[in-house]
């Protein structure tokens, strides 16, 4: 029997990030997982980031997390999605080499002396008087005051291919029945489903007839401190489904696990199987399919957009109806998977299970889907598990600070009706929460909590000083429209002298033009100038949002007592009592975001609030 501060169960994306976060705060960590090669395994799409998800990765990085660094080291190609839609929704995305990703993850985890990886199956949680004291594993008992469960889709996992079903967390991995233990501890458990496409043998694809999609030339990175792998970027190919594909799928719908009545749990609407797409958008003449390589030395191709639970012979038939795939060999069929998850309304904003002191949950077990969502929660749960074990302050991120905060707030207040994925539209303060300013938003917080390595903190401080200097310079340089015109810059002649910071909002004042007018700008790098231009562009909108943020902070500072029995609050209707009891908001602000809560109900709660230390809420 060995002593740890924190035990992490499962070395998926949530588990690895949780272990690293706890270790950065100085905890002795056991990362217990089924197989030695679990860390860094991408169970589905070999890509990290994207719209909304890319924000999460930059935020993880800003808090000293590891996903961005590992991705940078494993990338095959990277692109900035939504480039034309505005900086607030830019979504950095990278395709990665599976093997490199695993290797990079192993290397990063090995950097932490206090972190040990234990290959074993966790079979039960050990409690003493309702508090967690450790876990029971196939390799014996492990003791720790804090345990983070990050078992992904493995709880009660059942895989479906057509009418075939098999227990398992993903192909080649056993399922786990920890779900029963969670139920027994009073945690609300229900079922969700998701799916994955077949994997194709790249050697059997006719690449010559396909269109290519290359990465962006500037190869955007997630981590300012990450290393590139030095390999050349490789492109993806694009093809489409067609009327024949759709006809085959329609003819065999009855054999699909989804449509044949074998699965009735809820899957994500935004990541539909190809069956779903044909049923719901049958009028479209085709759906775009990306053929993504899984690695530099890997023949396996991931056909993004073809998730399915049809029987193998049907998969073969419809995939071969697609251009370029006429002769394709399937290496592994696609499948759907049903699994248990815990209703995240049972968790605190720090991802602790309210009913079981010492237990934390992160990742797909909380009803989310995606590597980035899992990793972001892992970081928060790991940091707070360490806080509990070592008596450190908690890491609480709110909606105004980060996508991480938006996600956790949504999960813990609304619960999930379908697998939860990050979208930019979930963030009401989207203009403030950008990938390009994640470090400004979070690094100081992470540093204060001991999550950010010293070198990163120092580099950040230097960048901030440089940013301040540049910002002051931009505010001090001024010009009239007339002066700009004399440099050949066409702006409206309103006679108004403006600072360069203000002029940056005008499309005619390009960065090259600005450099021509003000030679002093030579001391400001292109990246920094671009980032300041974003600030300038959004300044008016952000000022307006500041007022909303201030109001929200005020409400967040009004704490509701932890054990408040809402049924005893005068003036609350039965319905309000029910809604509030399920979501258990901790502040008046959180209560206002519980779906269906009326303003009058908030007024009724007001007398029960007490003012929290505003430092903590800010």
């Amino acid at each position: 029997m060995r002593e740890y501060d924190v035990i992490i169960v499962g070395a998926g994306h949530a588990g690895c990030e949780a272990a690293a976060a706890a270790a950065r705060r100085g905890a002795r960590v056991a990362l217990v997982t089924l197989r030695a090669d679990d860390p860094g395994t991408l169970s589905c799409n070999p890509a990290v980031g994207g719209i909304g998800k890319g924000h999460l990765v930059t935020e993880i990085d800003a808090l000293g997390g590891i996903m961005g660094r590992v991705t940078d080291a494993a990338r095959l190609q990277s692109r900035l999605l939504n480039r034309s839609k505005g900086p607030a929704v830019h979504g950095p995305r990278a395709q990665v080499d599976r093997a490199l990703y695993r290797a990079a993850m192993a290397a990063v985890l090995a950097e932490f002396p206090g972190l040990s990886i234990v290959t074993a199956a966790v079979e039960g949680l050990v409690l003493d008087q309702g508090r967690i004291t450790g876990v029971e594993t196939s390799a014996g008992h492990l003791a720790a005051p804090a345990v983070v469960l990050t078992t992904g889709t493995f709880l009660g996992g059942v895989m479906h291919i057509g009418s075939q079903r098999e227990a398992g967390g993903r192909v080649g991995a056993q399922a786990s029945d920890l779900g029963a233990a969670l139920r027994a501890m009073g945690l609300p458990v229900s079922r969700l489903k998701t799916g994955t496409p077949a994997r194709l043998d790249g050697r059997s694809i006719d690449w010559s007839v396909l269109e290519w999609q290359h990465g962006d030339g500037d190869d955007p990175r997630f981590s300012r401190f990450g290393q590139r792998n030095g390999h050349p970027p490789i492109p993806c190919a694009i093809t489409r489904t067609n009327a024949e594909t759709h006809r085959i799928i329609r003819d065999h719908l009855g054999e699909s696990a989804l449509y044949g009545g074998h699965i009735d749990s809820v899957g994500p609407r935004y990541c539909p199987s190809i069956e779903d797409k044909v049923v719901r958008f049958g009028d479209r003449d085709g759906h775009q399919i990306f053929l993504e390589p899984e690695g530099y030395d890997d023949i396996s191709i991931y056909p993004n957009g073809l998730s399915t639970s049809l029987p193998l012979h049907v998969q073969e038939k419809f995939i071969r109806s697609i251009r370029g795939l006429e002769q394709v060999a399937i290496m592994r069929p696609g499948y759907a998977i049903e699994y248990d998850h815990v209703d995240p309304r049972a968790l605190t904003p720090g991802l602790a299970a309210r009913a079981v002191p010492g237990l934390f949950l992160a990742g797909q077990i909380n009803g989310t889907t995606g590597y980035e969502e899992a990793a972001a929660q892992g970081l928060v749960a790991g940091a707070n598990a360490a806080a509990l074990a070592l008596g450190l302050p908690d890491l609480i991120v709110d909606r105004t600070q980060a996508y991480i905060g938006v996600m956790i707030d949504d999960l813990t207040l609304h619960g999930v009706a379908e697998p939860y994925r990050m979208f930019t539209s979930r963030a009401e303060y989207r203009l403030r929460l950008r990938a390009d300013n994640a470090d400004q938003r979070l690094t100081p917080l992470g540093e204060a909590l001991g999550l950010v390595p010293a070198a990163q903190a120092a580099a950040f401080a230097a960048e901030q000083a440089e940013r301040e200097r540049a910002r002051t310079l931009l505010n001090s340089l001024t010009a009239t429209p007339h002066q700009l015109a004399s440099h050949g810059i066409e702006v409206r002649q309103d006679g108004q002298s403006r600072s360069l910071f203000e002029w940056l909002r005008f499309p005619a004042v390009t960065h090259e033009a600005a450099r021509r007018v003000w030679p002093e700008l030579a001391t400001v790098s292109d990246d920094l100038l671009a980032s300041l231009a974003v600030d300038a562009n959004y300044a008016a909108y952000i000022a307006r949002q500041e007022a909303e943020v201030a109001a929200l902070r005020r409400d967040e500072a009004l704490a509701l007592p932890a054990g408040l029995d809402f049924a005893t609050v005068a003036g609350l209707s039965k319905e309000m009592v029910e809604r509030l009891s399920r979501a258990r908001p901790q502040t008046l602000g959180a209560a206002s975001r519980v779906p269906g809560i009326t303003p009058a109900a908030l007024i009724a709660l007001l007398p029960h609030t007490s003012r929290r230390n505003p430092e903590l809420a800010a």
Partner: protein
Amino acid sequence: MTDTIAALASGRPPAALAIIRISGPAALAVVQRLAGRVPPPRRLSLCRLHHAGQLLDEALVAVFPGPASASGEDLAELHLHGGPAVVAGVLDAVTAQPGVRLAEPGEYTRRAFANGRMDLAQVEGLADLVSAETASQRDQALALAGGALGRLADAWRERCLNVLAEAEAGLDFAEDEADVAERLDEAAREQLTAMADELAAVIADATRAMRIRDGLSIAVTGPPNVGKSSLVNALAMRDVAIVTAIPGTTRDAIEVPIDLAGVAAVLIDTAGLRDTDDPVEAIGIARARARAAAADLVISVSSAEAPAWPDTAGLRLLNKCDLAAPGVPPDVLRVSAATGAGLPALRDWLADWAHRLTRPGEPALLAHARHRAAFADAKAALRDAALAPEPVLRAEALRLAAHAFGRIAGRVGVDDVLDRIFSRFCIGK
């Protein structure tokens, strides 16, 4: 647990009848205790009310089990004989029951709101209804209390959310279906401009709604001693303003509400306009000019003793037509405050004018400054959205627009407006 509240819902006793309302979980139990039974729901039943072995009154009792009641809770109404001793005795007996207390001002309405029986605009409409004095104010308040504004705002919010949803799809799903975004862009711009124009028309109508709610203002101006105060008294049919033969009697503007064939209006009697050395009168005259400038109508009065025809956009009146007056232009109305001659014609003229301005047959909804501000914010946000230089800013502007409409029904945010509204209610409403 929620308290049960009770209060006198009708006017101050003595009166022929008095109604006590009881709302909350104990309402039916109170009826059981006092009447010895709970009569069938939603029907008036004759019951004898007893307390402490004493017969209090023979009353008509109706119970309305929640949530299908006005407050959303169990509700009972006791229709009593309206003597002060009866009312006091029954109220004492009711509030002596466990869990029952006297209601605070506006508490019934607040509960109806809390229980989702009313939205914020309906609450405002109810307040207007309670204080409505004219038919057109009543019609407008009824429309508001019936949820018409809430429905209008919701429909607008829905439209904004629909466009927003498309805009957001372009931002969050560009990855999946590349053609979504471009297709949306042009159509959205046109649609948003059209929506903003449509809103501008709705907002223009707000002036009319405010006039119905707050009444039209009519300033009565002219030189001293022409009979302005006499005219105001004659039109209001009571002596409100002081009338003397001494010029400069009226020092301050006096407001007198009148009903112009169902439309509310306020007559403003002003100090006579003349040069003066009296500082108090001078202030009165400055006020008179200000009121005239802000009024919906200015009546310029002169008298047969010294006819004068100022150039004005308003109505020109010649008073004292009982005395001889030569050469009166045809559009000048001739009246006599002393004899009443010409007053019916003047009333008809004013009623016509009032109806033209307020069109009382068509209820106008944006009666409160709060409503107008929300609609104006939404319009500005829609214009921003149409012109937004990048899709993410368009979405932001649309969010603001939807938010503005949500404010009408109180769907978002708590603000102090709530407390102000609720405190305007008298107990029991």
